[in-house]
Symmetry: C2
Subunit: 375 residues, 2 copies
């Protein structure tokens, strides 16, 4: 009888945050690739581009003029996916299967830095901290608006990931409903909290077990030798989760204590956050010596209740644990990506190299950016 070897035998893993499976087919990395290749990532961008609608002082697609910003700047998306309240009420459903739920909110764009050519991977830590401050400010401000239930901070980086402008920027969509994925995660965190005895890991509200605290405590502790951790500092860890879908997917989270959201970070934790964001994005760029495309999203607690009636640590609803997901498509080189298509769209996500192999490759990447220090 052969022994089960995760880097040889096809198997499925469960994502406890969503309850969904991923099919791992490690032997499949040998497959030749004759399909679509990606155009080379633009690496030689100028520090300022007069035609860029995000550079300081330039005019945007919608006609407005950007501030001559020096660090970060935020403005409302000229083509927002949701509009401010009030909106009309929903019509009655013509059939129980055809329901309509009106949704309101706002969409913000955040330019990370005036420099057109400096992504997170190339910014000094001080500038990354300013971005974190900006994220916190938007999360707080939007969260205080009447009716806003969730503030989704994200970044699409690279043309391959639908980004329409290489000027480093992220987005924030704030909605009157908790979107599907965070809602799913929160409901699984709740289920876990009420079904699992507390361990020696940090704990969530009411002293209950937190799925992410438990998971990450295991990964940075006894499981360290299994090698899913990519990089770790005093407060944060970046790892390729057990259930990763994208080839070099990373989850980034604080591991010392239960942290509901970005506004709960201490000054030290914020500094460590900037450090790990830099370390992760530098390793990503170094992996294939290119500006590494990804979508990134921050998951955290739905916007705080508008009253302080219940203290945070006694608030049963307060189960979210701050974490970031990075979903990068590249698989083999700067030009060959993984396609999540037919089987993945119709049945379930499938990956080739194992999460442990991916983490190893990322650990082996240099922590000094291949382009050196920018002028």
């Amino acid at each position: 009888d052969t022994q089960f070897d995760p880097s040889t035998h096809p198997h499925r893993r469960v994502n406890p945050l969503t309850g969904e499976h991923v099919l791992v087919s490690p032997h499949r990395t040998k497959r030749p690739w004759l399909g679509q290749t990606e155009p080379p990532q633009q690496a030689d961008l100028p520090p300022y581009d007069p035609k860029c609608y995000l550079c300081p002082g330039n005019t945007r697609a919608g006609g407005q003029q950007n501030e001559k910003y020096e660090h970060t700047t935020v403005f409302e998306n000229d083509y927002a996916a949701v509009l401010p309240p009030p909106g009309p009420a929903a019509p009655p459903a013509p059939h129980p299967l055809l329901t309509t739920e009106p949704v309101q909110g706002g969409c913000d764009v955040i330019c990370f830095h005036p420099r057109h050519d400096l992504t997170l991977a190339r910014l000094p830590h001080k500038d990354i901290e300013r971005i974190i401050d900006e994220w916190s400010a938007i999360y707080r401000k939007r969260g205080e608006e009447e009716g806003i239930e969730y503030v989704q901070i994200f970044e699409n980086k690279g043309a391959m990931m639908g980004c329409s402008n290489p000027h480093p920027h992220g987005q924030v969509w704030s909605l009157s409903a908790v979107p599907t994925l965070p809602a799913m995660e929160i409901s699984n965190l709740k289920r876990y909290a009420s079904a699992t005895p507390a361990s020696d890991a940090p704990r969530g509200p009411l002293g209950r077990a937190c799925l992410l605290c438990d998971y990450v405590h295991f990964e940075v502790g006894v499981a360290k030798a299994e090698g899913r951790v990519v990089v770790q500092n005093e407060h944060w860890v970046a790892l390729v989760p057990w259930w990763a879908i994208w080839p070099f997917e990373i989850m980034l989270l604080p591991y010392n204590r239960h942290v509901p959201s970005i506004v709960h970070l201490t000054t030290d934790e914020k500094t460590a956050f900037a450090d790990i964001l830099s370390q992760v994005t530098v390793r990503y760029d170094n992996l294939f010596s290119c500006s590494f495309a990804y979508s990134m999203g921050i998951h955290q607690r739905p916007t705080p209740p508008h009253s302080d009636a219940i203290p945070e640590d006694q608030d049963e609803e307060n189960v979210a644990h701050l974490h970031l997901h990075f979903a990068p498509p590249l698989l083999r080189s700067a030009s060959v990506r993984k396609f999540l298509v037919g089987f993945e769209l119709m049945a379930e996500p499938q990956r080739d190299l194992t999460p442990e192999q991916a983490a190893q490759r990322l650990r082996d990447s240099s922590d000094v950016h291949y382009l050196g220090i920018p002028d």
Copy 2:
């Protein structure tokens, strides 16, 4: 007070097959696009390509030689994502959150036709019927293998959708587990069957309500004027579902009676299936005058139980209703696609034009292929 207008006001719709939401932002179609454009789809392929590893008589990447097939041909994928049984047992989970489930099965490739240049959209109906026969044969054969629980038939068409060879072909992955998405659909079909009183629509096993029978009965009946139906024949209908995610997503299904799987189709229903497959793929190609990329998948009942102990119409497990999903990425033209990225990956799918607008565009497309009849 303004009235709610689905083609103006942002709203969310629920997909009852998955329980997930889609955010509809119809006003957003006005957004300018400066991002990545797709390379032109190859439209001038030769009928035979000596370098193609799927053309009749040629040698494949793995070294095997193809038959000189005249209609369709099937072979095992040289780089299968799952391997035949038996495999070793799973190791014990190192932590309750880190479970491993071994999976076995087989992966087949089906070449639709010897002609390198003829996609479904350009094949005569007789040849499409042969493909349907081949799908039925594989579904039956794989389903009879020990341990196989689900047979996932799909097609990735176009380089944009990860297809590595333009020679028209599909795939079949047969697994020892029901994958996430069909499992989710089936559990929602079951929940619906036991919670919903039977209507005058066709019904599932035990005379219970079937979510898809009910839905499609409504769409081809009283809702016809709302315009989600793209094309309909005697047995089948193609529609842009109320909850569509992809810009021109289509669901294809038989509407006259409850049909669990492809092997349950009558001869007439099979002929009508070939007809509607042709009509849909022709309209797709005509929409932007290109070979329209998509991923397609067939959802149907998990493989039949290996005993006939329970008659089909009394089998509670037999709730699946045969249907096909088409997930095509193009949005505005042959070169501008929709990216399901940051917000979509991290929060929930978002679409710009409404399903009703998409259906209108597809209805307005000609049902005669823009390239005319092949020689």
